[in-house]
C-alpha cells in the first residue's frame, strides 16, 4: 500500500508540475465557460438549473481526459523507466492503481473547477443544491471511469499523442453507445442492448437528484475493467 501511495504521490507531483496539465485545464475551462455563458447568459431570462449547463459541458471531458491521461504509462515506455518499474518491488497492480489514484486527484481539481458555474449561478437566484451535489458526484464517477479508459489507452503505446487518440476513440464509442441504432425494428433492438453500456445515459439520474445503484456500479465496474486491462497490458511486457 505504501508503494502504491508513493506511485500516486509521484504521479500527482508530475501532474502538478507539468505545464500541459494546466493548458489542458485552461482549454477545458475555456470551452465549458463558453458553453456556460451561451446557455446561461445568451438566452434571457436565464434559467437557474445546473442540469441545463452541465449537459453540454460534460462532452468536453471526452477531449480533456485523454490529454490528462496520455502520459501516465506511455511516458514510462518512451523514457524506458517502465523497465525500472517492472524490476522494482512495486507490483504492476500497485503501479497502475497508484497512477489511477493520481488521475483521480486531477479529476477532483477538474470537478471543483466545474463548481465555479453553479456558484456563479447562485449569485442570481436560489439554486437546488441537492441537484448540484448529486451532479458533482455523478461527474466525478463518470470522470473516474473515463480516466481509467484513458489510462488503459496510455498503456497501448509509447507515443503520448497516439495514446491520446486511442483514448479519445474508445471514450467516444462508449459515449455514443446509446446513439447507435434507431427507435424501431431491429436497430431498436441493437440500441436496447447497447444503451446500458453508454457512459452518458448513466449520468442522467445523478443530475435528477438520484443516486441509482446500477449507475454507480456501472461506473465502478468500467473503471475496474479498464484498470484490469491496463494491468494485463503492462504485465504482458514481463513475458516478452
Amino acid at each position: 500500500m505504501r508503494r502504491l501511495f508513493a506511485v500516486c504521490q509521484k504521479e500527482l507531483q508530475a501532474y502538478l508540475w507539468t505545464p500541459t496539465t494546466y493548458f489542458a485545464l485552461a482549454v477545458y475551462m475555456l470551452l465549458t465557460g463558453l458553453l456556460f455563458y451561451t446557455n446561461f447568459v445568451m438566452y434571457q431570462p436565464s434559467i437557474l438549473d445546473y442540469r441545463l449547463v452541465l449537459g453540454d459541458t460534460l462532452s468536453m471531458l471526452v477531449f480533456v481526459v485523454p490529454l490528462l491521461t496520455m502520459r501516465l504509462v506511455a511516458e514510462e515506455f518512451r523514457q524506458g523507466t517502465d523497465e525500472l518499474l517492472l524490476t522494482s518491488p512495486v507490483s504492476v497492480t500497485e503501479m497502475i492503481v497508484g497512477k489511477f489514484l493520481a488521475s483521480l486527484g486531477m479529476l477532483l481539481i477538474l470537478v471543483l473547477c466545474s463548481l465555479a458555474y453553479p456558484v456563479v449561478m447562485s449569485f442570481y437566484g436560489s439554486l437546488d443544491w441537492t441537484l448540484v451535489f448529486t451532479s458533482v458526484i455523478g461527474l466525478f464517477m463518470l470522470g473516474a471511469a473515463m480516466m481509467a479508459i484513458g489510462l488503459f489507452a496510455s498503456t497501448l503505446s509509447q507515443h503520448q499523442m497516439m495514446s491520446s487518440v486511442v483514448g479519445f476513440i474508445i471514450l467516444l464509442v462508449f459515449w455514443m453507445l446509446d446513439s447507435f441504432g434507431g427507435q424501431t425494428g431491429a436497430s431498436a433492438a441493437v440500441q436496447q442492448w447497447l444503451e446500458p453500456f453508454s457512459l452518458t445515459a448513466r449520468f442522467d439520474s445523478f443530475t435528477k437528484g438520484l443516486l441509482n445503484g446500477a449507475d454507480v456500479m456501472y461506473y465502478v465496474t468500467v473503471a475496474v475493467l479498464f484498470l484490469l486491462f491496463s494491468i494485463q497490458v503492462v504485465e504482458r511486457k514481463r513475458w516478452r
Partner: protein, 463 residues
Amino acid sequence: MKKWLGHTNSVVLSIAAVGIFILLTLFLRSLGGFQLDLTAGKQYTLSDQTLTTIQGVKEDVRLIAFTVSTSQNQKLNRDVTDMLNEYAKRNNKLKVEQYDLNQEPLLAKQYGVTSASIVLVQGEKKRVIDIGSLFTQAQGSGEGAYQFTGEEKLTSGLLGLSSTRQGKVVFLTGHEEIPLSQMTELSSSLSQDNVKTEEVQLNQAGSVPKDTSVLAIVGPERDISATELKSIRTYLNDGGKLFMALGFHPNMGSDWKNLDALAADYGVKDTHAIVVDQEQTNTLGPLWTVPTFGSHAITDKLAASNLYPVLSLSIALQAGEQKDWKTTLLMKSSAASYGETNIQGLLNNETEKDDKDPQGPLNLGYAVEGKEGKPKAVILGTSALLSDTEISTGGNRDFVLNSLNYVQEHSDGLTIRPRQEQDYKVAYLTPAQAKTILTISVIGLPLLFAVIGILLWWRRRRA
C-alpha cells in the same frame, strides 16, 4: 512455455472480466429501482400501486412521447420523459420512445395524435394520454408552482391496457343535455378504461339499450316525458345503474316533475336552489364553489390527495329517508353559503339571502346503494364539471371518473397523489452582470490556468 502460459492467463482473465462486466451491468439494470431519491418531495419515488402495475406488465409496451419543444415547456417535457424513464427502468418490457410532434407529423397521425401526447401501445391495443392534461396550476404554492399528475394517468393507462373489463355508459339526449360532442375528454378517459360511450334518444329507441352499464343524464334543460321515465324506471328496476348530474335551468322549479321524481325514487330531493358560496369559492365568483367531501369510496382518496372539484351553478339537494336505498353525502358547500331560490333575481345578477333561501352547508351530491351495499346511482346537483371546458379544472375529472367507476362497480379506479413541482427559477441579467459572468467564466478562469502553465513552462525552460 512460461511466456505462452502468461499470455493465455492474461487473455482468459480479460475475457472473464468483460463477461462479468456485461452480466453485472445487465443484472443491475434489471433491478431498476435500486436508488436513493434525494429530491425534495421524492419526485422520482413511485407509489406502490404504480410499482405493482409496472411489475404486472408481461408483454412489451411502447411508451411513445410526442412532445412539442418550445422554450416555455422545456421543463414540462422533461417531467414527462423523466417519468417515462422511471417506469422503463423498472421493467424492461416498457420501452420509451420520444419524438418531436412537429418533426414527426406522419408518425403522430398513425397514432391519431394531434397534440402533445403519450401513446401506450401493446400489440393492437393503444391508449392516448394528453400531455396537457397532466399539468394543473397549483393553488396557493407561489408563482411557477404546478401539479403533475403523470404517474396517476400513466399507471391508469397501463392498467387499462391489461384490463379485460368492458362497460358502456349511455348518455340520454333529447332534453338539451350536454352532448357527448362537448364531453370528448370524458369519453376519451372512459375509453382508456375500455368503457364505451354512446347517446340514446329514448323517444326513438323506446328503451335503454340492454348492454348499458350506466345510464347518464347530464345537464338536461327540459323535463323527461312520462314515457321516458317509465323506460328509465324499467331499466333501473332490472338492475340498471344511474348517473344523474342536474344543471341549472331557469324553469327547473316548475318544469322538472319527472326528473325530480326519478331522483326521489332514490331518496334525493332537488331543492331548486342555486348555491351561492362566498367562502369556499375561487376567483370566478360566488356561483362557483369548491366543495368539501363527505366520506365515501368515491371521495376518500381524492380528499387524501387534496384534489377537490370546482363546481359552477350547482343545485342544492337533500336526502330524505328511504327504506330501499342508502344515500351517502358526497360533497357539500361551506357553512357560509346559501341556496338562492329567487332564480329571476339571480338571472338579473341580484342575489341576496332572504328567509326563503336555505342556509349552508348545502349538499351537492349523493351516492346511492342498495341494502346489500351494491352501488345503484350517483346523483349530483351539478353538471358543467363533465363538459370539456370544465373537466380539467381542479379535481373534476377524477371526481367524475371515480363516480362512474363506483356506480359500475369498478373498484380499482386510481387516484395517486399529484406531484407538486416548481417551474424553472429564472433570473433577468443586466448587461453589466452578463459582462461580469463573461469575464469570470470565459476569460478569468481559463486565463488563470494558462498563466500557471506558462510560468511552469518558463521555469522549466530556464532550469
